[in-house]
Amino acid sequence: MTLSRRSFLRGTVAGSAVALGLPFLDCFLNDNGTALASGAPIPVRFGSWFWGLGHTPGRGIAMDGKPGITFLEETQPLVPHADDLNYFNAFNTPLDGRPSAVHFTGWVAAKTGNVPRTFGDTPEPTLDVIIADQIGSETRFRSLDLSSTGSARDSYTFRNSTSRNAADVSPLAFYQRVFGAGFVDPNQADFTPAPSVMVRSSVLSAVHEESKDFLRTLGASDRARMDEYFTSIRQLEHQLALQMEKPDVSEACGIPTPPPEGEVLGIEIDVVKNNHKLLTDILVMALACNQTRVFNMLYSQALSMVRRRGESFTHHTLTHEEPIDASLGYQREVAKLHVHSMEALATFIQAFKDIREGDGTLLDNTLIFANSDTGNSRVHSVDNIPVMMIGKAGGRLKTGMHIAGNGDPITRIGLTAMQVMGIPVERWGTGSIETTKTISEILV
């Protein structure tokens, strides 16, 4: 069955247009994207970008009712990218009586549609995992997960409470992982698979088969964990299978320069921004070279530890302990660090725009779901969390709009993102945060 996008029932609820309860439509796929000169369709990628502690209230964007985005002081770095993103705010996180686990509930609800019962409780997958299950199996890596904070634990992507994707944090190691041994240049003229790849593949297949009888000896929860192992081994077998085939030519692909030796990891702001840039430069080329279609980048933790050299307070502790400047009416140092986060996001966006692909750029063929964890950095509120959708998702999205949620559940944004990426999901979330309403204004 194919349906025209016009068959969406459009309406307005609480001041925000919605597309009501319609199933996912295949027509989203590929009808707006362009193709490469080779004729191969350009894939649409999905990724997330996270920053901690949001904005200072009243200093993010203006609530002026205008259709476009009026960037205020803390989002000024995004001005050059105004036409490439949608900004969402005034969406809420109803807790249904559950306690708000500070620096946790906000982002977990936005990314999983579920309000956690306690800190660490993440029974539902993040939306990137749902999307990777749909579109991540055709590439060498199902997903590339990165953090510029130096800690592999700083990763907000998981299938459930016990299956979390650790982040790559070292630019050097990340470069080696993607462009070191095992990388097949899609544009090289000659292609001869390495004999060792075939042997490795047969080893994995044999271990895979042999491990199946292991299941019979295990309890139910361990069998579920072994399912994850089997998924992993299949993914690795798939990676190796791809290395035995000549890949499709990818015109935008070029092997990036390796990061410099002697890297420094850490949470000082200059270090974080530098590593963020190095990781980003490798990531965008990994996408252009079709090594993955899904990615996650964490710029700073929900409890942001980013800090200036010589400053005894981190970004997070400043939100608690820096006095409000009487003349300014806000926390001066906190506000500066908020601007740094947006500068990093602007750098990230620019890297996607710098890669030409088909008739446009890599950004045109990408959907970046960028969010923070709080709507008010000083009191850590989980309402009014800022979220952005960046990129045109292969022509499926309009951009340049400010969408105010008027208190609607924040899950509307994630549901829309998943539908845009082709996930057949009609409703998302549990309890009061559940929604069936997409955000139709941004759909092409």
């Binding site: 060792s196 139910a220 005894s312 409000i324």
Partner: protein
């Protein structure tokens, strides 16, 4: 059906509770839990490779972090999965290790046989190698089909690549990406009392990972094969043997690394402008100092566990000398040292490791330090902070007249939503305020003399050394240690059915003068330590009854 089985089990247990157990001791009967796969920790992986192939084999790669559950990463290992990215890294690591094992130098030592021809398969030699290393990697002898599989993989690799040793390397790679290596898998077997216990090889793994944090050695596997681990005498013989090995110090150190959250050292960062003396070597030595102190006091000296909060004995390295203001004889090595009686340092809670780990990058944190004492040393869970707290009072006060942390934190007492929890943490941490965020001694903050007096659960003190005395007298401290050690060894938090057993174990610990080797012996010679129930197909029963026996909600 499952329900019926559970009823029958409960009836059986109730009946047996009044009988004398098979070993003739007064050990309370426990119900046991289902064995859970435990993902090898990074250290267990590294130790296993080092023990099987030698210390010169480099294990290069990154391991996925474990979640901390009920105070221990070891419990996170019991629910950890292997994600696609993790398996990719395991496979790369396995290939790297295998290539080193079969390289021209190492093969002379590590491959005991030589192939008839080096450019093709030799199944007899491959079979010998796979058999000899496989049992240490899988922690039991390989089954016939496993033996055949990995031998054949080696042969197929040798044929495909035209090189016997490369083929052997791929057979070895297969062993190391198998879930049977990456997970510690324990198997239930019928016990003489009609219930179930771990089988011999699973017991060998529990013993080995608890005491040495590595794969069982040949003697232990032989003992398992001979059924010796199913007798108290056999267990005692192995326990005594293992306790005389220097490896037990590594095992005990590994436990404390977990209990004291030393994985935080991996990302510990101090501002070089504020704390210029806190260089990388200091970080590494701070960690080692505490671990050396603990193993010396608890294993070498066999002292009372509670002494760890008061001991003036320690070890000092060249880099630590200036921080502790101790003259160094040999800047390159470690020296045993005893702080003088009036010293501000006594007990591990005064160590640089503790002070630096539970601080911010550029300042101390009485709250973090107090929380660490409550949660890590006393197993008392501090509730999460409430959401949407307005810190206006705190901010205004901090900007005006408050010079010391005590003054700044006083705002917590004025705010009802803060006071309940902060009064449990802040007074403990304030006792340590004479140590700055990098653990260096100070007497004033912003020109104001620091007041370190306080009270812990009814015992008052004047400073961090006095806090140590209060901790020594706190009944929660040894109970917490017992709980954590048991959970670490078994891979599960004590269940309701183990409450009586845990009380019994704590009593034995007290009766033994809180000596850790005796607690370890009591534990590894018990039935409870190996008690399991066979895996159930019912998804609802797998974790039923798990509690944090010693984790008190405050």
């Amino acid at each position: 059906m499952i329900y019926l089985k559970n009823i029958l089990r409960t009836v059986l247990l109730s009946a047996m509770a009044f009988t004398v157990s098979a070993c003739g001791e007064d050990e309370p009967l426990t119900e046991g839990t289902e064995p859970k796969l435990r993902r090898l920790t990074e250290q267990q992986y590294r130790n296993s490779i080092s023990d099987v192939f030698g210390g010169n084999i480099i294990v290069a790669g990154r391991f996925d972090p474990l979640e901390r559950i009920d105070g221990l990463l070891a419990l996170g290992a019991s629910s950890a999965t292997i994600t696609p990215a993790a398996l990719e890294r395991y496979e790369a690591m396995a290939r790297s290790i295998a290539l080193q094992v079969v390289d021209e130098e190492n093969r002379k030592v590590l491959v005991s046989c030589a192939p008839a021809a080096s450019n093709t398969r030799d199944d007899a030699c491959a079979n010998t190698f796979i058999s000899s290393v496989g049992k240490f990697l899988f922690r039991r002898p390989l089954t016939g089909s496993e033996q055949t599989l990995y031998t054949n993989l080696s042969g197929a690799g040798a044929e495909g690549l035209g090189d016997f040793y490369q083929g052997l390397g791929y057979g070895l790679t297969g062993l190391m990406v198998s879930p049977k290596f990456l997970y510690i898998n324990e198997t239930a077997a019928p016990a003489p009392d009609g219930l179930h216990q771990l089988d011999g090889y699973s017991k060998a793994s529990r013993l080995s990972f608890l005491l040495w944090n590595t794969t069982p050695d040949a003697v232990l596997l032989d003992a398992a094969a001979a059924g010796e681990l199913d007798t108290k005498d056999g267990l005692e013989k192995q326990f005594n043997r293992m306790m005389t090995s220097s490896r037990v110090e590594h095992g005990v150190a590994s436990f404390f690394e977990d209990m004291l959250e030393f994985e935080r050292f991996d990302i510990l960062e101090k501002d070089p402008v504020i704390y210029p003396a806190f260089i990388l070597n200091v970080t590494e030595d701070a960690k080692e100092q505490t671990l050396r102190t603990l193993t010396q006091v608890l294993i070498e000296d066999k002292s009372d566990y509670r002494d760890i909060f008061t001991t003036r004995k320690t070890f000092i390295s060249g880099d630590l000398g200036p921080i502790y203001r101790v003259p160094i004889e040999n800047p390159e090595g470690w020296m045993p040292y005893e702080f003088p009686e009036a010293s501000p340092w006594a007990g591990i809670q005064t160590h640089l490791s503790f002070q630096a780990l539970f601080s911010h990058p550029g300042k101390s944190s009485p709250t973090l330090r107090g929380q660490a004492v409550r949660e890590s040393l006393l197993c008392q869970k501090i509730p999460e902070p409430p959401g949407d707290v307005d810190f206006a009072d705190f901010n205004d006060d901090a900007n005006q007249i408050n010079k010391t942390a005590r003054q700044r934190l006083d705002v917590h007492n004025k705010e009802a939503s803060c006071a309940g929890c902060h009064k449990l943490m802040d007074p403990i941490g304030l006792a340590m305020e004479t140590f700055d965020g990098a653990g260096q001694l100070r007497t004033t903050e912003n020109g104001v003399k620091i007041d370190t007096s306080g009270e812990l659960d009814g015992i008052t003190y004047e400073n961090a050394v006095g806090l140590g005395q209060a901790l020594r007298q706190n009944a929660s401290a040894p109970a917490c240690f017992t709980n954590r050690l048991y959970a670490y060894g078994t891979g599960h938090s004590p269940t309701r059915s183990e409450r009586q057993w845990m009380g019994y174990l704590e009593g034995k610990f007290a009766a033994a003068g809180y000596r850790v080797p005796e607690l370890l012996m009591e534990m590894v010679l018990s039935d409870a330590f190996y008690r399991v129930v066979p895996p159930s197909l019912d998804t609802n029963t797998a974790d039923a009854g798990i509690i944090s026996a010693k984790e008190t909600k405050l």
